[in-house]
Symmetry: C2
Subunit: 211 residues, 2 copies
């Protein structure tokens, strides 16, 4: 063997990219700029990453995992079903998907511009969906498994939708409405799926934990 990759340089490039993506998004960030910020030449960036899109994935992956894990803790700390679901949906859609630092926008841009040749491992998406399913299932232990999976899937789609529309909106009032809509739907569904267990005379259902 001979000369070895510098851990320091790898870190410089990754951190520079992270900071620039955050500030300017995927498309607004150039390899030249990343290199300059990392203190090297553009061509040397390709010693550490095979392409620009791989840098974006490398930056986004740990960020999303950290946010989801953090969200799991917050959800687990909530007392009732409604609080748990509200925390989950707000955290996922408003805080993470609607993230103002533009990281999900970065990913959306990267994914949208990814060519057929860019191999994007769906591992992160799977992982995320499983985590969301876990949170839902813990909130609704008696829920029908198929329905819970459907909920998780729809939440993932909504996540993508919110991220995509980041690029179109000025204000973020849209996200609040999204959160409201999903929770609206979720609570109706919750009512329906738990209805056989507890139902009052008026025909409306209530859970044992009020918010």
């Amino acid at each position: 063997m001979a000369r070895v990759k510098s851990e320091k340089m790898f870190e410089n490039i990754t951190l520079a990219a992270e900071s620039l993506f955050e500030e300017h998004g995927y498309i607004g960030t150039t390899i030249s700029r990343i290199a300059k910020e990392a203190g090297t030449a553009p061509s040397n960036v390709y010693v550490y990453y095979p392409s620009k899109i791989e840098i974006a994935f490398a930056v986004f992956d740990p960020w999303l995992r950290a946010r989801i894990t953090e969200l799991e803790e917050r959800v687990a700390g909530c007392a009732g079903v409604r609080e748990q679901l509200t925390t989950l949906v707000e955290g996922l859609l408003r805080d993470i998907a609607g993230d103002e630092t533009g990281r999900t926008l970065t990913l959306v841009q990267a994914l949208a511009t990814a060519g057929k040749t860019d191999e994007y491992s769906p591992a992160l998406l799977h992982w995320t969906e499983e985590r969301i399913l876990g949170m839902i299932a813990r909130a609704l232990p008696d829920g029908d498994p198929d329905l819970l999976r459907s909920l998780a899937h729809v939440l993932m789609l909504a996540f993508d939708g919110v991220a995509l529309r980041q690029n179109l909106r000025r204000s973020n009032e849209g996200e609040d409405y999204v959160v409201h809509s999903i929770l609206n739907l979720l609570f109706f569904t919750l009512t329906a799926s738990r209805a056989p267990v507890q139902r009052n005379a008026a025909g409306t259902a209530r859970t044992d934990d009020r918010s």
Copy 2:
């Protein structure tokens, strides 16, 4: 006045763009190629459209409106609530958002790469959401208006999500699962919202029109 824009040339450019976007997506289509296909020079394209993204919008807008209108007719022709909702969701998510000719992918790519300076009128999105709301409301005339609007909104998000993920998947089995999930959720919700009116002894609800 002097020389006037040729209607024929405008059509040539638009049709060439439509065909190329369909085949290669937004990013895979170049202005040079559009011009060649239209029988003119790249620079002349800019006499008819201010930018590449405007061409994409011009092509996508009438296509989406036609598909949605067509879907409205199909939904209206369905007999029961479940058939109507199934037709709506399948048509919207599998046929239109998951469109194999890649038109929604084209739009997603265009939107994702759109700079802050690109003015994209949200008129089309509003129009689409209103049409979806109309279809849902006609299927569920007794539904709570707020809930119906939430449903329409979530469907729009799912639409975006499906379109975005077009770029990641090889097969389209994912769309079938999406359709299943949404319908699953929808029917639970339907059950819940109609429950106060009709409910049988077992605590499960059923509507008056079975599929």
